[in-house]
């Protein structure tokens, strides 16, 4: 009996030794390389963006009609008459972005402070889904809202001869509402990450709720808030459908928010909406504008990430 079990255990040990020897597992290797390829795939997307946009943009700059210097000095963008000054597209993008941020930053900060410092759990649990709903509504719906609600409202308030049917103000205001949930949720994350002990220390010193929130919690979360604001700006610059619907067609060099003016993104959408023939100046110009847009938003996003990484206050 004992001999038998000993024999068996020796046998088992031998077979285990056999199993444990490192053998090539081809299945595992194949799967791992497939997974690596999936991970690496996103690099192709970025390379594709840079390569394709760069290639066509280069063709654009090589066209005889396009003079590189004119792009930054002329104030007209009319591809059909060979005028390429980026300023009108740039100013309207700036106007919509500034208006959007004037709405989204104060409101977004206020809502975030309310959610993280003032609201009780019940209010939070109703408000957060509302914000999620706002964030999940497609931008074209906001475009419809801008054109059919905000524009008539502005025209009623400021007068029909002051406010045109298509204007950058209504697009900017609605864009502010669109970006509000983004800024709120990022800011609220930053505020919630500030440890309880800091607040309690402030209360212990006799600070009021407002003083605690504004003088202790907000400064402690400042890097996160700055990151949220920058991401919001980047989102506003790249936002397309609201401006395509409500801001008007045709580049217009103006800072007046009540007249129609086409933004960078709005221009790209309108130009490519028709039947666009390849290798035309229109076709190449959207790539040049796209490349510009890509680098601007990428830079803003990278700055935002750097701010979070570099200036984050780490608490234990």
């Amino acid at each position: 009996m004992a001999d038998l079990s000993l024999e068996k255990s020796i046998e088992r040990k031998a077979s285990m030794k056999n199993n444990l020897r490192r053998k090539p597992r081809w299945g595992e290797t194949i799967i791992q390389s497939l997974l690596f390829f999936s991970g690496f795939f996103s690099i192709f997307t970025t390379l594709g963006i840079v390569y394709e946009l760069g290639k066509e943009a280069l063709l654009f700059f090589q066209m005889p009609e396009v003079k590189f210097l004119d792009i930054f000095t002329k104030t007209k963008w009319q591809p059909h008459t060979g005028e390429f000054g980026i300023w009108p597209l740039f100013t309207s993008t700036m106007v919509t972005t500034v208006i959007a941020m004037l709405i989204a930053i104060p409101l977004g900060l206020a809502v975030a402070i309310y959610l993280s410092e003032y609201a009780g759990p019940r209010v939070r649990s109703t408000l957060k889904p509302i914000l999620e709903v706002l964030a999940g509504i497609p931008t074209i719906v906001y475009g419809y809202f801008a054109l059919t609600f905000m524009t008539p409202l502005l025209r009623d308030i400021f007068g029909r001869d002051v406010v045109q049917i298509y204007n950058t103000a209504s697009a900017g205001l609605v864009m502010g509402i669109l970006i509000l949930p983004l800024i709120t949720s990022m800011t609220e994350d930053a505020l919630s990450a500030v440890p309880r002990s800091l607040r309690e220390a402030a209360y212990g010193m006799g600070a009021t709720k407002l003083e605690t929130a504004v003088q202790i919690v907000v400064p402690a979360a400042l890097s996160g808030i700055a990151a949220a604001v920058i991401v919001g700006i980047s989102r506003a610059i790249g936002e397309t459908m609201i401006v395509a619907v409500a801001a008007g067609a045709g580049p217009n060099f103006t800072l007046n928010p009540f007249v129609g003016a086409e933004t960078l993104t709005g221009h790209i959408v309108r130009i490519s909406g028709g039947d666009l023939s390849y290798d035309s100046i229109d076709y190449n110009s959207i790539f040049a504008l796209g490349l510009f847009l890509f680098f601007v938003t990428l830079t803003l996003n990278i700055i935002s990430q750097q701010i979070v990484r570099r200036f984050r206050e780490v608490y234990e």
Binding site: P138, V141, L180
Partner: protein
């Protein structure tokens, strides 16, 4: 200040400080209310546009089309076809016959054609729901005065017919069936591309990748791609899928080339473009879900001798699946609502036939909304409002299923 450490000094100041606290708290709460009001205004505005009075004139009075006292809507299919044949030019009739033989058309379809081609209702006025409710009498008076022949009806622009009819250029017969099918076809390819690659990438980054410069670049790159404006993906899709890969995306290499689907502006191109767009979102969400699976589960699996892939496949993935699916559904609902990239990729402006292959021309719900919103006539704005309701219901049910999935199947460790 130095000697004012007495209780009275503190209390003096306190009243003002508390008052300031109250004022700011009120302001902060007011901002929150503004946000809620914005959402309510958005919803009410859409509903306001989707219902209301509409006044229309028929080019041909339907009563005159009655045969032997049988009203138009009660006539048989043969009678209606005869009517079409006798009224329309033979060329127009043949064209309809070629599109789809009358014998195989349904009665509703033929009736729709009669309304479309012969009765031809023309909209003369549209009123929003708010005006229709508050000023019904004035509206009736105006219509009676200015268009005595016009009929005034209270309509819901969102009705079963609107959802099941194909797209047309006439506001009364236009529907969103073409657009709904277009959206579904497009999303199918988006999921087919983005889900496997996205989950694969997330598994790689969370389970396999060591902390090397290459893997850090991959991770940073994914985070950056998530912030790229969607229109850039549209331009990329135009360059790669529509132009460079045209033989593939137009179906030419499969010998399926359809003369009507010119130049790669197809469902397939649109789906792939949206696939690239949602890929980073799916990866980031899936990574979070995988990260939430505790280390101990993996160690237990390794402890009984499982290989890496066996551990991932049998232990990590099943536990992370609800989270992965929730994240994917949210990404998909983002893709369904996307408009800008599809305009750039080249959605068709007017097609009345449902897409039936990856190589069909396409239009989607958001594209339809965009086109109807961009038209100056009020009746098209109303159609846009009705299609927004369709889109929002679709998105809401998707989001609700995501929430259900999260609540029902997610495990806490």
């Amino acid at each position: 200040m130095k000697e004012k450490t007495t209780v009275e000094g503190f209390a003096d100041n306190l009243a003002a400080r508390n008052r300031r606290g109250m004022v700011w708290q009120a302001l902060i709460q007011a901002s929150t209310v503004v946000g809620i009001i914005a959402l309510i205004a958005l919803m009410l505005n859409i509903i306001n546009g989707a219902y209301g009075y509409v006044a229309y004139e028929a080019k041909v009075d339907p009563d005159t089309l009655a045969v032997n006292g049988v009203a138009l809507q009660d006539q048989s299919q043969e009678q209606l076809v005869t009517l079409l044949q006798s009224t329309l030019s033979s060329g127009a009739f043949k064209k309809l016959e070629n599109e789809k033989p009358f014998a195989s058309r349904s009665l509703e379809d033929v009736y729709q054609l009669v309304v479309d081609r012969i009765v031809r209702p023309q909209v003369v006025g549209v009123w929003s729901l708010w005006l229709s409710l508050t000023q019904a009498d004035e509206i009736r008076a105006t219509v009676a005065q200015e268009n005595p022949d016009a009929e005034l009806d209270f309509v819901s622009w969102l009705n079963p017919g609107f959802i099941t009819r194909p797209q047309t250029s006439e506001p009364f017969t236009a529907g969103v069936r073409t657009a709904i099918f277009g959206s579904l076809w497009t999303i199918l390819f988006t999921i087919l591309v983005a889900f496997p690659i996205g989950v694969g990438a997330a598994i790689y980054l969370e389970e396999y990748a060591s902390d090397t410069w290459l893997n850090r670049i991959i991770q940073t790159n994914i985070n950056n791609l998530a912030g790229v404006p969607s229109i850039i993906y549209g331009i990329l899709g135009l360059a790669i899928f529509v132009r460079t890969l045209e033989p593939l995306t137009s179906g030419e290499v499969f010998g399926l080339v359809d003369p009507t689907t010119a130049n790669g502006r197809t469902v397939l191109s649109a789906g792939l473009t949206l696939g690239l767009l949602v890929l980073p979102i799916i990866i980031i969400n899936a990574q979070e879900a995988i990260r939430a699976v505790p280390r101990s589960l993996r160690n237990a699996s390794f402890g009984v001798g499982a290989t890496k892939w066996q551990t991932v496949w049998s232990h990590v993935l099943p536990n992370a699946l609800p989270g992965i699916l929730t994240g994917t559904i949210l990404a998909i609902s983002r893709a369904i609502g996307e408009t800008a990239p599809l305009v750039v990729v080249g959605a068709s402006t007017a097609i009345s036939f449902d897409p039936n292959s990856p190589f069909s021309k396409f239009t989607t719900l958001p594209i339809q909304i965009y086109q109807w919103t961009s038209r100056p006539q009020d009746e098209f704005r109303s159609l846009a409002a009705a299609s927004i309701l369709v889109l929002l219901v679709l998105l809401l049910s998707l989001n609700a299923s995501a929430v259900l999935l999260r609540n029902r199947f997610s495990r806490r460790f």
